[in-house]
């Protein structure tokens, strides 16, 4: 990781120096060491640039804004981030010509919440040693397996393929990430009774405080003004008024990104309430795969997305109504 980070910094400096780009989009240290935030750097600010196990944030969406500025920007994208970027190209939200993409190797990013959930408190620093994490805390040194502390999205890693880039920075070392079945939890929910599912979602969605973090981070949510913020849309809703508003927000949001969502998992990563929002998106993805054939948003620039496409032989909606199992 450290080696990759050094290579990145070196390339950033070189590209700034030769005028290929005039700024760099990357991650900088936040208030806490695990709290990295996306940032735009110029040559003299590069000392704050960080790339480590907490660089989970997907930088693709930031490029929408960057593309509106003059000159070319350098951005570092992890393999899964490139899908988001590619999807943004498909939606004409970014200008490929104004972005220089360096694809960077990623071995999975750490979820500080998982470390806390292990009962490890007062964390002051974390370093990686092979497949282990060494965690310094105010109570002394703790250890845990790296794979137990990975973000949900990394456990279901899409792989190490970059679908769009100008150059790649990889170490060439062999390693494996992910391997979990991303639809396992969805299938588990599907196997529940409607009553249980209802209870599950009511419980989860009732935690929502409508901070809009999920929407703001989502690369597919790139509307200029969200329908939920637009008083003229007829469905604007900001606060948890009486009933259903949060549900409506999340369902409609999931529907709006259906077929375009790359399953980057940012929504769940940033949710301060820990709502597993990705389970809504993955339900749509699972359904698309089952009903209309395997589809990965952002994988290429030509395939029509499932909801803007059809075949005359498509399944009927009654496939849902007539589905077997308990009702």
């Amino acid at each position: 990781m450290q080696r990759v980070a050094e290579m990145m910094l070196e390339r950033a400096k070189a590209l700034l120096a030769d005028g290929t780009v005039n700024r760099v989009v990357g991650w900088e240290m936040g208030e806490f060491f695990y709290d990295l935030t996306p940032a735009v750097f110029t040559a003299d600010g590069l000392d704050k640039f960080v790339y480590n196990g907490f660089s989970g944030a997907n930088l693709s969406k930031y490029m929408i804004k960057e593309c509106a500025k003059d000159g070319k920007a350098l951005v570092f994208l992890k393999p899964c981030d490139t899908y988001s970027f590619n999807q943004l190209i498909n939606e004409h939200r970014v200008d490929r010509e104004k972005v220089y993409i360096i694809g960077v190797e990623c071995r999975g990013m750490i979820d500080i919440r998982k470390i806390r959930d292990m009962g490890i408190k007062g964390v002051t620093a974390i370093r990686e040693e092979g497949e282990e994490l060494i965690i310094d805390t105010i109570y002394g040194e703790k250890k845990c397996a790296r794979k137990d502390a990975l973000l949900e999205k990394c456990l279901c890693c899409k792989g190490q393929e970059f679908v769009v880039y100008d150059e790649l920075l990889t170490t060439g070392e062999a390693f494996t990430v992910g391997g979990n079945n991303r639809f396992a939890k969805v299938a588990e929910l599907e196997a529940m009774t409607p009553g249980e599912r209802f209870a599950f979602w009511r419980n989860e969605l009732s935690k929502c405080i409508r901070c809009n973090a999920c929407r703001n981070v989502c690369p597919a949510c790139s509307c200029l003004q969200c329908v939920f913020d637009n008083p003229k849309s007829g469905i604007a809703s900001k606060a948890n008024a009486d009933d259903f508003e949060e549900n409506m927000f999340h369902i409609i949001r999931a529907f709006h990104v259906a077929g375009r969502c790359t399953d980057c998992g940012e929504c769940s990563r940033v949710c301060p309430q820990g709502i597993p929002l990705h389970l809504l998106n993955r339900k749509f993805i699972k359904d698309v795969n089952e009903f209309y054939g395997e589809f990965q948003a952002g994988a290429d620039n030509t395939t029509k997305y499932p909801l803007t496409n059809f075949t005359k032989e498509d399944v009927e909606p009654s496939i849902v109504t007539n589905r077997g199992g308990e009702n």
Binding site: I235, D314, T321, R323
Partner: protein, 148 residues
């Protein structure tokens, strides 16, 4: 939901979206043929089944509908040639999601009804109304923090 106080029985609220060219005309034909179906089915006319936004269906459930049905031209017969194909995908996905969220999957339905199928329209509405009546009042996707 309206409770008919006279009889005390459950009268569900059912919203039917009908495309102007086939299903709305099919509903008209059901009327012309004097084929009865329950009065709690209320029809909203839309130009095409592809005009129906999932938002409308959620809105109906939010405002207390017990069942929502969408009727359009038979696949291949769309007045706009492809509208119902899009509607078919959208509704399949939406219904599956609603089911996933715990809204009984029998509360949502798509039927293809042509302008000549007055009988089918009435039969579909009778069947759907009966299904919804049997299911009873819909769950409210309410918030735990709000008053029941």
């Amino acid at each position: 939901m309206q409770v008919n106080e006279k009889k005390g029985e459950f009268k569900p609220t059912i919203v039917a979206f009908c495309c102007n060219w086939c299903s709305y005309a099919g509903a008209d034909l059901a009327g012309t043929s004097r084929l009865s179906y329950p009065a709690n089915v209320k029809i909203i006319r839309v130009p095409c089944s592809c005009r129906v936004n999932p938002m409308f269906i959620l809105r109906a459930f939010q405002r207390g509908a017990d069942g929502v049905i969408l009727c359009g031209c038979h696949p291949g017969d769309c007045h706009y040639s492809t509208g119902n194909y899009y509607a078919r995908r959208r509704m399949t996905m939406l219904f599956s999601m609603l089911d996933y969220l715990g809204i009984d999957r029998k509360r949502t339905r798509v039927e293809w009804v042509s302008a000549a199928e007055g009988t089918k329209f009435a039969a579909v509405m009778n069947d759907f109304a009966q299904t919804i009546t049997e299911l009873g009042e819909n769950v409210k996707l309410g918030d735990l923090r709000c008053k029941e």
